[in-house]
Symmetry: C2
């Protein structure tokens, strides 16, 4: 498995995108799911950056490309991508981000920088097992977990520390 690029570190982002698209095509082929032109285009737009995109942002992008899309077009594509685990919905932002673990069974934990908006998706087995244990203690049967952490990514933290230094 290749090392994954951190969103907030310089990296060849085109490689992220093409990797994600290639993975998506594989996954859909394996499951007999149709990754149509629109669906693929929406996925590609979402992967343009590591900042989650709102449905209407996507809609606007499609608009500028001459594709005369309406909200349902986008939401349907998103539903499909969510269903096959190709994107995640960030509930605290009402926005969508590419899944960096597509195809692997996983539970995402998201680190969301409130400054630069970049999102890092993690797999954190110890967190997941602690959550399961806490739920089990209450006799609760967990199914889906929404785990989103906002804060400052290393870059933005250093930056704001520098500013503070400068002024202090």
């Amino acid at each position: 498995m290749p090392e994954r690029a951190l969103p907030y570190r310089p990296h060849n982002h085109d490689a992220c995108v093409s990797q994600a698209l290639a993975d998506a095509r594989d996954i859909c082929r394996q499951q007999n799911a149709r990754l149509t032109a629109i669906r693929e285009r929406v996925l590609e737009l979402i992967w343009q950056s590591h900042k989650p995109l709102g449905a209407y942002d996507i809609l606007a992008h499609l608009g500028t490309e001459g594709h005369n899309a309406a909200p349902p077009t986008v939401y349907r594509a998103l539903d499909f991508l969510l269903q096959y685990g190709l994107v995640h919905r960030i509930a605290s932002l009402n926005a969508f981000t590419g899944c960096t673990h597509a195809g692997e069974s996983h539970r995402g934990m998201f680190l969301i920088c409130k400054q630069c908006s970049n999102v890092l998706e993690l797999e954190a087995p110890r967190v997941s097992s602690a959550i399961d244990e806490a739920a089990r203690t209450e006799a609760f049967s967990p199914e889906d977990v929404t785990l989103e952490v906002t804060g400052l990514c290393p870059l933005c933290r250093d930056e704001s520390a520098a500013v503070k230094d400068h002024h202090g």
Copy 2:
């Protein structure tokens, strides 16, 4: 500290409500915050049950009481209650629920039953520390954590198991 009632167990819910209101009054007095009539009424409505309430549900309730409220009224009351830690927003539901740990410094973890909609708020120190550790490993400085688990509460799980038994 009194034992806390579980939302999905029969309990004297009026006691929940009056306790919550009394706590809220204390907290606001201590912090010189004004728990006005509207704010208190919104808090009381949210505490009517352990099922999270949408802003427009609250609005509708207020409407039936002759209080001619508009959305900003409700959202402002909610902002206030959130600010003082008296209610929580459940991002995955766009809804609000009374905080069962008001006044205590805590990070809520929510168990949301997809069947009966009741929500149990937990403090799970081991989960929180695992999250912090995972974030720290990525050099990320966490501030707010959204942790919402959907699934089946014990009651609804037993119920659906019984139905399955019956049919199988």
